[in-house]
Amino acid sequence: MKKNNLKSWLYLLPALLFLGAFMLYPLIDVFIYSFEEGYNSASQTSFGIGIYNYEYVLHDPYFLQALQNTFLLVIITVPLSTILALVISLGLSSIKKVRSLYQTVYFLPYVTNTLAVGLVFMILFKKTAYSDGLVNVLINLFGGSSVDFIDGPYWAKMFVLCFYTIWIVLPFKILILTSALASVNETYYKAARIDGTSKARIFFRITLPMISPMIFYLVITGFIGAFKAYSDSVALFGTDLNAAGMNTLVGYIYDMLYGDSGGYPSYAAAAAIILFVIVLTITVLNLLISKKKVHY
C-alpha cells in the first residue's frame, strides 16, 4: 500500500488534538502540580519545588480517613461481589425457564443513575424523627433495635456503602461470568459425566479453571473500580463527605480541588498520584498472581 502521510494525519488530527489537550498535557501537568509547593491558583505562582504536598496529604487526617474507608470498601466488596456474582451466574446457567427475565432484571442497576437510586437506598436505611425507615422496621421485626445507617455509627454507614456498591457493580460481573460459563465447551462436562465425576469435582476441576481468566479480569477491574469509588458515597451521605466521615480517596481529590474546602490543586495532584500508585501496584500484583494461577 502506498504511504499517504499527510492525509492520515488529517484523519487523526481531531483525536490527537483532544487527547493532547485533555489527556497528555494534563498527565504531565499533574506531576508538575504535585511538586510545586504553595501553588496559588489565583496568581499562578509557587514558592518552589519539593515534596511538601505529599507530606501534607499523607499527614492530613481527612486523607487518612479516606484511605481507610477506601481500603475497607475494596477489601469487603471485591471478594464478596465476585463470589456472589459467581454463585448467581452458576444458578442462572443451571436453569432454562425465565432465565432471560432474570438476566434482564439483574442488569437494571447498570443503567441507573447512581446518584438518583442512591437516594432510594438512603430513605430505605435512614432513621428520621417520624419514621425509622423500612430496613429498621425489618430489623425490629427480627428482634433487633434500630440503627441509623446514614448518620449513625461508622460500621453501619460502612455497611450501607458496601451494600450499595455491591448492588451497583454486580450487573457487570454477572454479565461477564454468565457469558464465560456459557462458553465452556460442553464436551468436557459430557466426558466428566460419563466418568461419573461428582458435581463438586466438576466445578473445581473443569468449570473454575476454564473461567479463571474472566474471574481474574473481574478481580482486577473490581479493584480498580472500588479504589475509585466516590459517587456511591455522595449518593448516600451527601456532598460533605468529610463531615460524614465517609470520604473516599477520589472524593478527597475533588474536595481539595473544588468546593468549600477546595482551591488546592497541588494537594489534589499529590493525592491523585498516590491513588494512581496504589492502583498500579495492586494491578501489577494481581497480574503477577494471575500468571501463576490462571489457566489460559
Binding site: 492525509k7 485533555f22 430513605i123 480498580i224 459517587s231
Partner: protein, 288 residues
C-alpha cells in the same frame, strides 16, 4: 438392576431439590434488585400527608396521586436539568463519533509513518485514570473562562481511546479486497469510509453510541466541578441539589418523583436495546 435404579431415582430427586433452591436464591436477588425501583415508584405516588404519617412504611398505597410529579417539575427546575442533560448527551456523543471514526479509519486502513508509535501511545493512554487528568482539565477550563458553559462540560468528555480501539478492531475485519476494489474504481477514502465501512460496522457504532449515552446521562463528577450555576446542572447534579436543599428535606415523595423521572429514560433505552447494550457492555464496558 436394583443397584443402579436406586441411586438414579435418588439423584433425580436431589436435582429437583437443587432446582428449587436455585430458583429461590435467584428470586431473592431479583427482589433485592427490583425492590428499590418499586419503592421509589411507590413513594412517588404517595401523598405527602400520607407518607409523613406512616411511622411504619406501607408496601401499598390506597390513594395514588400524581401531585408529586407536578411538584417535582414546578418546585425545582427539573425540566431544565433534563434539557441540559439531553443537550450535553447528544452533542458529546455526536462530537465523539466525529472524532473517533476518522481516527479508527486511519489506524485500520491507512498506512503512514509513525503509525505504530502513535497507536502504542493511544493504548498507553487507555491506562490513565480520569482522576489524574481531571485536575489540570479543571484548571484549563477555568482559565479559558468556560465554567458554566456547555463547551466546558463537553470538551473534556469527548475523547475515548477505548472506543477508537474497539472501532479499529471492527474496521479491520472488513476484507482488504473491498478497499482495493473501491480504490480501483477511483472511490475516495472519505467516500469509502462513509458509504462502505460505516454501514458495515453499524452494529458496533450503535453499541458505542449507546454506551456513551449511558455514560453521559449518569456523569456526575465533571459536571459538578465545572458548573455551580443551576442553569447548567445536569440531572445528577440536579438530584444532588434537590437532596441538599430542594423541596425541603422532608418531602421525600416529591424527591422520589424526581428520581423516577431521571431514571426512566435509561431504563426505557435499556429495555429497547437490551441485547445490544448487554453485548456491548460485555465487550467493552466497565463499571465497578
Amino acid at each position: 438392576m436394583d443397584n443402579i435404579e436406586l441411586p438414579k431415582k435418588k439423584r433425580k430427586k436431589n436435582i429437583h431439590v437443587m432446582t428449587v433452591v436455585v430458583y429461590i436464591l435467584l428470586s431473592v436477588w431479583a427482589i433485592i434488585v427490583i425492590f428499590p425501583f418499586y419503592w421509589m415508584l411507590l413513594t412517588s405516588v404517595k401523598g405527602y400527608g400520607e407518607y409523613a404519617t406512616e411511622y411504619i412504611p406501607q408496601f401499598f398505597t390506597a390513594s395514588p396521586t400524581l401531585d408529586n410529579y407536578a411538584e417535582a417539575f414546578t418546585a425545582v427546575p427539573l425540566a431544565l436539568y433534563f434539557l441540559n442533560t439531553l443537550i450535553f448527551t447528544v452533542i458529546t456523543t455526536a462530537v465523539m463519533m466525529i472524532v473517533i471514526v476518522p481516527a479508527a479509519f486511519a489506524f485500520s486502513r491507512l498506512s503512514f509513518r509513525g503509525k505504530n508509535v502513535v497507536f502504542t501511545l493511544f493504548l498507553a493512554l487507555m491506562m490513565i485514570p480520569n482522576e489524574l487528568v481531571i485536575i489540570t482539565n479543571f484548571q484549563t477550563i477555568t482559565d479559558m473562562g468556560l465554567r458554566n458553559t456547555f463547551s466546558g462540560l463537553i470538551l473534556p468528555s469527548v475523547t475515548s481511546v477505548f472506543y477508537i480501539y474497539l472501532l479499529k478492531e471492527n474496521f479491520e475485519q472488513i476484507p482488504d479486497d473491498l478497499y482495493k476494489a473501491a480504490k480501483v474504481d477511483g472511490t475516495s477514502d472519505m467516500k469509502y469510509l462513509l458509504k462502505v465501512m460505516i454501514p458495515i460496522c453499524r452494529p458496533t457504532i450503535i453499541t458505542i453510541m449507546i454506551l456513551k449515552v449511558i455514560e453521559c446521562w449518569n456523569s456526575y463528577v465533571w459536571p459538578r466541578l465545572i458548573t455551580d450555576d443551576k442553569a447548567y446542572y445536569l440531572v445528577s447534579n440536579g438530584i444532588e441539589e434537590i437532596r441538599e436543599n430542594g423541596f425541603g428535606r422532608e418531602n421525600i415523595p416529591a424527591m422520589m418523583a424526581a428520581v423516577v423521572v431521571i431514571s426512566v429514560p435509561l431504563i426505557v433505552l435499556f429495555l429497547i436495546f437490551r441485547n445490544k447494550i448487554m453485548e456491548g457492555v460485555s465487550r467493552g464496558g466497565t463499571k465497578g
